[in-house]
Amino acid sequence: MTKPADHRSLLSWLQPLLLWLPPVLFLSLFYFYPLGSILQVAFERSQAGLAGPFYEVFSSPGIRNVIAFTFWQAALSTLLTLLIGLPGAYLFARYEFRGKSLVRALTAVPFVLPTLVVAAAFNTLLGPRGWVNLALMDSFHLLLPPIKFTNSLTAILMAHVFYNTTIILRMVGDYWSHLDPRMSQAALTLGASPLKTIQHVTLPLLMPAVLAAALLVFIFDFTSFGVILVLGGPRFATMEVEIYYQTISLFNLPLAAALSIIQLTCTLGLTILYTQLSKRLQRPLSLRPVKYTQRRLRTWQSRVFVTLFMGVLLGLLTIPLLSLAARSVVSLERGPDPSNTNPQFTLAYYQELNQNRRDSLFFVKPINAIGISLAYASMTVMLALALGLPAALTLARDQDWRLNRWLDPLIMLPLGTSAVTLGLGFIVALDQPPFDLRASPLLIPIAHTLVAFPFVVRSLVPSLRSIRPRLRQAAAVLGAAPSQVVRQIDLPLVGRALLVAAAFAFSISLGEFGATALVSRPEYPTVPVMIYRYISQPGSLNYGQALALSTLLMIATAVGMLVIERLRLADIGEF
């Protein structure tokens, strides 16, 4: 199929078209059409024509600052995330150690937690009354907390690293684990220093996966909303925050639309840059099964090194989670007896979750909320894989096809789109049967799929591209039917990547807090929506229930991730 002659035949034209059909239909209907509609409505409201709002954006120093800050914090966050994530990815890729799959599953948990909960978790650690500050004040006899975390850039950066390290760990770690270690061993044997080996062998081979992961992390940070709002405080704003303010508080839809378009253009520019770079870097490789690439920890040095680094990584990612979980079973309230200041162990918050004490119509048992969340998440996984796999296949196989060069950057756009804008787009566009989905529960997995789809494609393409075309040709020559080639060559070789993709789709859906963007049917709340219901009311019981439900969400996520990890042993993952 990479022979030039093939490209002239009708069949080879038909194949990518057929593969593109489902994702393109889906994106047109649920992304481009709503987005176009809301932008049109917004600009119709502009009194200064189409250009007016753009002029307003660029002539306001405040908004120019917002744009500059959006880039700056995203770049810084991405760098830090790579710094923490790459060594972790290396360890996951090259070493086999006990508890590895548990550690991997745990690192995915931050990804799904609502920002308000993460903020609370960080606060119990680093806030003015957090453990760290209290300990420092105590040991150095300070009057004021030495660490200022609230409303700082540090808080934003830490939260971004906390959320997104798992992207690097998974996407790069997985790719790395299939790289043949003999190549760097050869370099070392030939006298290259370890640094030179990394620079000239490992990194270039790894680059496609690093770039893909870094692009996703960057776009996530670039469009960051909750972290900036809750942890960054009022002095920091990204474009996404500004769009929210202009839309909701001021109802200045034209200005919000102009900002959305600028944000999209930036995303598109970045993605085009990425596709250009990755095409140059990508080369077919001999991917190796994990059992040939991974070592056990034999020497004590490697044991110490792995333990130390895993300790740091786990500490960063799980200590805030653990402090949250601990807080959900501890009552700090004094109760009726004011002299009682000791923290008390309690399961009251968990018990209360099952009580509908006030006869509320919207009460949902946590087990049901988790069930609803899992149902949405499985739908998202199915949809995102069903749409992402064909797109990834054609992107990987028909690289030189002109349409692919156009479509490739477009699939990343949903990630760079303002959720507020798109949410209003659904209201404006999807209002006619058979697509009057404005208040349908189906809209939730659809919206989650828009975010998950680019992840699926980006996780699959690097692995698919690295398959040597000759493998497929050889199989064909030996008489394998085309579907057999897919089943026996493509799928086994990218089986791991497929599971990584599924894991992303799963966690994106579990953690997505759709309430701001979508119209929701209150009878089917997801867990994050329920958490928000509790934490938006005063009272120790409400706060405790929010933490308890967050803990249950963490457990559900970790278990879900472990299950996805196990799947590979059963079927296609190994070869």
């Binding site: 199929m1 069949l11 080879s12 038909l14 194949q15 057929l18 489902p22 809301i38 308000l116 609370a120 606060n123 806030g127 003015p128 609230t150 409303n151 809750v230 405080g233 009022p234 925050v241 839309t247 909701i248 001021l250 109802f251 009552s331 700090l332 009726p336 009251a348 006030r358 006869d359 119509l361 919207f362 009460f363 049901n368 069930g371 149902a375 894989l385 069903a386 296949l393 949410g423 209002d431 404005r438 208040a439 189906l442 997995p445 085309p482 080639v485 701001t516 963007a517 119209v519 209150p522 089917y524 219901r533 934490i535 938006s536 009311q537 005063p538 009272g539 120790s540 019981l541 409400n542």
Partner: protein
């Protein structure tokens, strides 16, 4: 030669798409919630759709009363915070998502009226509502409930320090209250905006910036949302933050008793309700223009203004009924003080100046 594999994949795609639509249908049976079972399985002629914000709540029993009396199923559509929900109602004006919209407050009222999303309805029950709540004289938006945004303080802190809690807004710039106050950003938070309006009602649009200058000098902390202010920064809540004064609601102390664990009789916090220190948020309901169910929609509006619903409001949403015949639960009489006089800024003034005030405030306080 690759066409068959595309067909295989295409087939898988179709099957999965079909599967996921079935899953949605199955969800109703898998997760029967209170809402889908609140009415016996009789056949309903009609469904009334009520669009509202995320904080809306109602007792199962109270709703069942309305549904049974009118043989109707009420479907609630929650659409985000107040501003978001209103924007959605405005943008779906041509083809309304619902028959009734509840939850627009006086800070957003002018937007709703200017965009003409409601049709007028002179409910007979308006007679029981004091004139002060009826901000729309054409009865397109009818008042349902109100809540007061007030300073809350941590009682324990002031007892321990032997300092009196603040009584007026002016007190907050005094040295004994230095570094004690946390407020929400008016650009992103509804109580934040309400508190800014309280200061404007107090000191006028030419004096409020000077007042805020004093607060900044006294180290006021601004955060973006109520949750962070109350749970991360305020010392009176379970979050055990560092600051003992916060902008919250007059009803928050009652919440601290009702939702306490372990149970307490006395709230750890109290609200400052002295004259003109609070700003009153009034919430309205209106019938969306273009409804196909006008009669039912009117019945629902009447129901929301009737004693049954009005008396359900406080324990469900922690705001208070506007109907003067509604009787408050004991718990509120015990833990609540109502301000005699709140700071007043009219909806028109708010609509006209919102952007200017917030911008000027941002320059003064955050830069």
């Amino acid at each position: 030669m690759h066409r068959p594999s595309s067909l295989v994949i295409g087939g898988i795609v179709l099957v999965i798409l079909a599967l996921s639509s079935c899953t949605t249908a199955a969800m109703e049976t898998l997760f029967p919630t209170s809402q889908s079972t609140s009415v016996p399985t009789q056949e309903h002629a009609l469904t009334l759709k009520v669009m509202t914000h995320d904080s809306f709540d109602i007792s199962e029993e109270v709703l069942a009363e309305f549904e049974q009396a009118n043989n109707v199923k009420v479907q609630f559509i929650k659409s985000g915070d107040t501003g978001t929900a209103l924007n959605k109602a405005i943008l779906s004006r041509e083809n309304p998502l619902a028959d009734v919209f509840y939850g627009v407050d006086n800070t957003f009222l002018s937007r709703a009226l200017n965009e003409d999303i409601f049709e007028p309805y002179d409910s007979p029950l308006l007679a029981a509502i004091p004139a002060g709540f009826k901000l729309d004289l054409e009865s397109r938006a009818l008042p349902v409930d109100y809540g007061d945004v007030c300073l809350n303080y941590d009682k324990g802190y002031f007892v321990q320090q032997g300092v009196a809690p603040p009584m007026t807004l002016k007190d907050l710039s005094q040295p004994e209250y230095k570094s004690l106050l946390v407020v929400e950003n008016p650009a992103t938070s509804s109580p934040g905006l309400a508190f800014l309006l309280a200061t404007i009602g107090n000191f006028g649009s030419d004096g409020y910036l000077e007042y805020w200058e004093g607060l900044v000098a006294n180290d006021v902390l601004v955060v973006n949302d109520w949750e962070t202010a109350y749970y991360s920064e305020f010392s009176g809540s379970s979050g055990k933050g560092p600051r003992p004064i916060v902008v919250s609601y007059s009803s928050s102390p009652a919440f601290e008793v009702l939702y306490s664990e372990p149970a307490v009789d006395e709230p750890p916090t109290a609200a400052v309700t002295a004259n003109e220190t609070c700003f009153r948020q009034i919430e309205f309901v209106g019938i969306l223009s273009g409804t196909q169910n006008r009669e039912l929609a009117r019945k629902w509006v009447d129901f929301m203004l009737s004693r049954t619903f009005q008396e359900d409001i406080p324990l469900k949403m922690f705001v208070f009924p506007v109907n003067s015949e509604a009787v408050l639960d004991q718990i509120f009489l015990k833990y609540l003080s109502f301000p005699d006089q709140t700071a007043i800024v009219s909806p028109d003034e708010i609509a006209l100046n919102r952007e200017v005030w917030i911008k000027a405030w941002t320059e003064q306080v955050l830069r």
